[in-house]
Amino acid sequence: MGMTVAEKILARAAGLPAVKAGDVVEPAVDLAMSHENAALVINQFLEIYQGTPLSPTIWNPDRVAVIFDHRVPAESSKTASNQKKVREFVANQFVRKFHDIRGDVGGICHQILPENGYVRPGAVVVGTDSHTTSHGALGAFAFGIGATEMASVWALGSVLNVEVPATIRVNVKGKFKKHVSAKDLILHLIGRLTAQGANFKVLEFHGDTIRRLSTSGRLVLCNMSVEAGATAGIVPGDTETERYLREEAGVTDPITPVLPDDDAEYDSVVDINVSKLGPQIACPHTVDNVKPIDQVAGRSINQVVIGSCTNGRLDDLAVAAKIMKGQKVAANTRMLIFPASARIFQQALAKGYVKTFMEAGAVVMNSGCGPCLGIHEGALGDGEVALSTTNRNFKGRMGNPKSEVYLCSPAVAAASAVAGTITDPRGEH
């Protein structure tokens, strides 16, 4: 029997000729990523070595990445002290893939890894962040783990006792209509699968729509695969993957895509035609509470957010800037924009998008995660409503359990910021 992409990657990483769903393996890790929660990983890592004659040493510092993005610059002395502890640790352990709070090489981890070429097709990537699924966009098997699990990876270089997940094959065909994008596709899919429909499973994306989709769009799909519960989302590597890694990430060494076998065994198959898909909105307080925009259009919004590891890339900002050019953010609405990385921020400056946003009245913030999870700037007041291109709308997500968060694409966010209500960017279609 043939293998899925996840099975092939896990077989290679475990040194086995073949594996199938349900097998238990210990894959070697190609990249282990953490952000500020490295402070907890360090604590657990040091505890592993207690009572042993061994000195705590990361198995291979070149395979570890640490990116500060959740609270940047530090919002409190507590965070600053955690960041200081991590900074000292990575220096002592010779971790060179370290991205501090900087305006040149800083940014959100799920953009920093791709744009620096840290992730390749076929790699096993783990991260102490649930949206580590993002990196499946480059054909890797990438999944989120907890801090203690990461401490174990730092010590041993492999993930212990991983059950090979079954795979749901998602075939996507058709051409997106204007102002409809990867975000609408993944929201639609999550609505169909439900928030736990892919729990313990992999989503493997195929079809002509996916082949035409840029790496930026693929990152959106894989980023939010976890919102259907998926262990990982994967777009098998292809010519676009190679283009991205060569042209945008500066990778020069060989790139070998991993493709599924023709007779790979899938848990189930989902077929989607996007040619008639319109803008989708995830309504409070679960990501699978997805409705076509018509059903929620007109809802007043207090804050619009464009950015994050989901939709803070250059093409997202381009779509928003085009809609907002010469327009103004509505009087009773605030608009926050935070690019996914410092590099993207600089590109947006060069292209004039930042000027467009600021002239419209939006606040352009430094790259970081803060507003998405209500931990650093952009919190909501009691009874307020936010419309956001981020990935979660759980109760309390943006820092206030008495507020509401709706999720959407950058096009919907931009059109809605101008109107002050949830607005279809297609106008009277």
Binding site: V24, E36, N37, A39, L40, N43, Q44, E47, I48, Y49, Q50, G51, T52, L54, H70, R71, S76, K78, T79, N82, G127, T128, D129, S130, T132, G144, I145, G146, A147, T148, E149, A151, S152, A155, L156, L160, N161, V162, E163, A195, Q196, N199, F200, G229, T231, T286, L373, G374, I375, R392, F394, K395, G396, R397, G399, P401
Partner: protein, 163 residues
Amino acid sequence: MATVVYEIGDDISTDVIYPGRYMATVLPTETPQFAFADDPVLNGKLTAGQVPPGGVIVAGSNFGCGSSREQAVSTLKGYDLVIVAKSVARIFLQNAINLGLGVVMCPTIEANEGDELEIGATEVINRTSAARFPIVPLPKSRQAIIDAGGLIAYTRQRLVAGR
């Protein structure tokens, strides 16, 4: 026998269990104070010491969905709570096993606050309603970690054995 101390619905996210704004607090000894911080009733009972160790939270499906933050497990572990849920999200389940938090997957569980549960190897018996509910076993892949007393102990064993 264990007492149900709270009943909670479906899709309880890590943002509800341990709100993001407390994530700068990382040490397992310091996280319990923020358990269900946005739920004043439950947080109040926990922090006031009104919940005895071994108390059960009965939850619906997809408990612990969302973030990989381990604080969502350590905060519950701090009170030695046991979670009996219809289903549990993958990362939360993995973190729970790694830290030794009691989690029981029981797809048909029906229980109310105050009910007495007997949690066995294959079923949960609600002694108050006299109903029995089958348990979905934990992934067999994680048994070695449970047997070692958690992932830190297990990794330590492996590390020492490998050198």
